[in-house]
């Protein structure tokens, strides 16, 4: 089938959306951005195609009588098995790379214990990986770097302590290796992995093997790809395949909510206020200056500082019962202020709520410079997934602009890629 793909190469994450010719979304994919943009684009596209396969499985299962009530559970199992296979494959690559990096004067005469410590660390990582992909387990992140990294720190430190080695040695090897591993083009054979995922024990073969295999046999043709976002100029695409991110965000928001007039997009490193006309065409916009305070990276930094996943920040901040005012503007200083306040015995959730308020206050000033908020208002970008940020935003919009309809879509991180995919459809069909 013909696929139209939009890729939004952001500073922090790279998103891809696959559409059919009727502008129906078939799949979405996301990965962390890395120094090799081609790889980031290729991985996000592959993820979106994996998601497209899952959509095709769903359609194919729904056509089989008697699977209606188990379809979702079966698909969830299938996806989890698939992810686990993928994860272990990358873990093996990382282990090989780490062991290959134990060389040079830093390790002279210590190679053997270092390699043994690495092998033991990875043995524990593999052992633990099954629990990461067990039903109902909430993973800290969906990106290999975060999943492997958190586990590596935790297990590596323990292994080194037992072996009497300096953890810094091993951490440095990890830093060197993870960059190499994540910048390699993604391993292919998606269909083969799905077949293996299907053969894992948790799935009832008799019922679903046939529909899944029939859906796997549909060829996915990449008809037209459009790139946008922070890294768009460095994508390996011809010029006519590149669109400005402001245009893509405006159109993406319009596709999700045709009544949109104002868009706030808080991404990794920029915050944009955009005004669009009834057709989704941009009329006016404003952006922040180059400072991480007030964008997604601010929260990312705080998450690292607290040893938490980015997705865990919002829920914790929601439990706050007391207003804490954060005095630092600079992200790094806010991190230090957080440490100081924790040391003084302030509650984590209260400090976090204050940090969330700080980021939204910065966004409000950008919106007012972009001409304020008109009805309907659509909030997009990665931070729109954060419930604590959304709560603050609703409060401040109501205080400043009265009762405006606020649209927030759980998939709003894909808005730019969605606009890109729509441009891809238009490029071919118009």
């Amino acid at each position: 089938m013909r696929c139209f793909i939009g890729i939004d190469l952001g500073s922090t994450t790279t998103k891809a959306v696959v559409m059919d010719e009727n502008q129906t979304v078939l799949g979405r994919g996301i990965t962390n951005s890395r120094s090799n943009y081609d790889t980031a684009a290729a991985v996000s596209k592959q993820e979106a195609l994996v998601d497209t396969r899952l959509t095709l499985f769903r359609r194919s299962l729904e056509a089989v009588p008697g699977t209606a009530d188990v379809a979702e559970a079966v698909l969830a199992d299938l996806e989890r098995n698939f992810r686990h296979i993928q994860f272990v494959e990358q873990l093996e690559d990382l282990e090989r790379t780490c062991i290959g990096n134990v060389k040079g004067p830093r390790f002279a005469g210590r190679e053997k214990p270092v390699i043994e410590a690495l092998a033991e660390t990875f043995r524990r990582l593999r052992e633990h990986s099954a629990t990461q992909f067990a039903p109902g387990f909430r993973r800290k992140s969906d990106f290999f770097r975060d999943l492997a990294g958190g586990d590596f720190m935790h297990n590596g430190e323990a292994v080194c302590r037992e072996a009497g080695l300096a953890f810094d040695l091993i951490l440095n090897i990890y830093d060197k290796s993870i960059i190499k591993v994540e910048n390699r083009p993604p391993a292919g054979d998606i269909e083969g992995k799905f077949v293996r995922a299907l053969e894992m024990e948790s799935l009832d073969q008799s019922l679903i093997a046939a529909p899944v295999k029939s859906a796997l046999s549909i060829p996915l043709e990449e008809t037209y790809v459009v790139g946008t976002g922070y890294g768009r100029v460095r994508l390996p695409f011809p010029k006519e395949h590149i669109r400005s991110e402001i245009l893509c965000h405006g159109l993406g928001a319009h596709i999700m909510y045709p009544g949109t007039r104002t868009v706030l997009d808080i991404g990794g490193q920029d915050t944009k206020g955009i005004q669009v006309d009834p057709a989704g065409i941009v009329e006016n916009f404003q952006m922040n200056d180059r400072c991480a305070a007030g964008c997604g990276r601010y929260l990312g930094y705080i998450a690292d500082e607290m040893n938490m996943g980015l997705q865990e920040l919002g829920p914790l901040a929601m439990q706050s019962t007391k207003q804490v005012r954060i005095n630092s503007t600079c992200t790094v200083f806010a991190g230090a202020e957080l440490r100081d306040r924790l040391a003084l015995g302030e509650k984590r959730e209260d400090i976090l709520a204050g940090l969330h308020r700080a980021i939204i206050l910065r966004a409000m000033s950008i919106l007012s410079r972009a001409g304020g908020v008109k009805d309907q208002f659509t909030f997009t970008g990665g931070v729109a997934k954060n419930e604590a940020a959304v709560r603050e935003l609703r409060k401040l919009i109501k205080e400043n602009y009265g009762d405006v309809q606020i649209n927030i879509n759980p998939d709003s991180i894909y808005t730019g890629a969605l606009g890109g995919a729509a441009f891809a459809v238009r490029a071919v069909l118009n």
Binding site: R290, A292, R297, C330, T331, V332, A336
Partner: protein
């Protein structure tokens, strides 16, 4: 006046440092030193741990120490006798490490400060960097980690640069993204690091000018004093800015604050003892 033993404990935002001295009139003997990176642990517990480790290596018990000086963020340290401000301890520690020092540049994980001192290490004037982390130690460390470069390789690599890439971005957090971009444009780690060192150096040179440090030796203290690449870049920047200062570092520069604390602690202890003797 018999010999006394004093200690200095310096808690920074990245590291905890402790030192131990024996002081007899104007003769000093350095008995022990210990440091540990905080890495999101409780710095006060860490200070306790490494203080004890240092004492046991030196064969000294807690009771033998006449004065424990705290400095930096260690103000609430339970076992401290008294606290000294960072300016005064870094000034004193710098002169101990290098008697020629007439200015100090203390660059830690978050803050930088320039201090002008006299020959005895007394503070004449000082100035801090602003409330923004661009060019701090933390910033440099994040970038090195991203490049997969160990802490102690930064300086050496930076000095191998043949075509430093100037960093335009100011923000410490977003500068990392610029680095990702540079890597993807194929710029070498050496040239990236040197570019960052140079942009830091230009700002530090201006900071030194602003406190009226015009000639002589500026002693680097704090964690970044160990970064030979930064020291070299600073000396290049000072020549360019036509300032007759020479930046120097010392292998023990990171202990400067703790050293200054232990030395001022001895001074304060002796003053107190004399007062007590008079009172008795």
């Amino acid at each position: 006046m018999s010999a006394i033993i004093t200690a200095g404990v310096d808690i920074g935002s990245g590291c905890v440092k402790t030192v131990l001295f024996e002081i007899d009139g104007d003769k000093t003997r350095w008995l022990g030193k210990e440091l540990s990176r905080i890495r999101s642990r409780d710095p006060f517990l860490l200070a306790d741990e490494i203080y004890d480790a240092m004492l046991s290596k030196a064969g000294v018990s807690r009771g033998d120490v006449a004065y424990v000086a705290s400095t930096g963020d260690a103000e609430n340290l339970r076992f401290a006798t008294g606290h000294f401000y960072s300016m005064t301890t870094h000034g004193r520690g710098a002169v101990y490490l290098n008697p020629d020092a007439r200015a100090v540049l203390d660059i830690g994980a978050l803050n930088g400060r320039a201090i002008r001192i006299d020959g005895g290490g007394k503070v004449l004037t000082y100035k801090m960097t602003s409330q923004c982390a661009s060019g701090s130690g933390q910033f440099l460390e994040n970038i090195a980690r991203y490049l997969g470069i160990a802490h102690d390789e930064i300086g050496m690599l930076s000095q191998k640069a043949d075509n430093p890439e100037r960093v335009s971005s100011i923000c410490a957090v977003l500068a990392e993204t610029d680095v990702i971009n540079m890597v993807s444009r194929g710029i070498s780690a050496a040239n990236i690091l040197k570019g960052i060192h140079l942009s830091m150096a230009v700002r530090l040179a201006k900071l030194l000018k602003s406190i009226g440090a015009t000639d002589g030796v500026v002693q680097m203290t704090g964690g970044l004093a160990l970064d030979t690449g930064l020291v070299a870049a600073l000396n290049e920047a000072l020549v360019k800015e036509k300032v007759a200062l020479v930046a120097e570092s010392h292998p023990d520069s990171i202990y400067a604050g703790a050293v200054g604390g232990a030395l001022w602690g001895a001074f304060r202890h002796q003053k107190l003892s004399r007062l007590e003797a008079v009172a008795a």
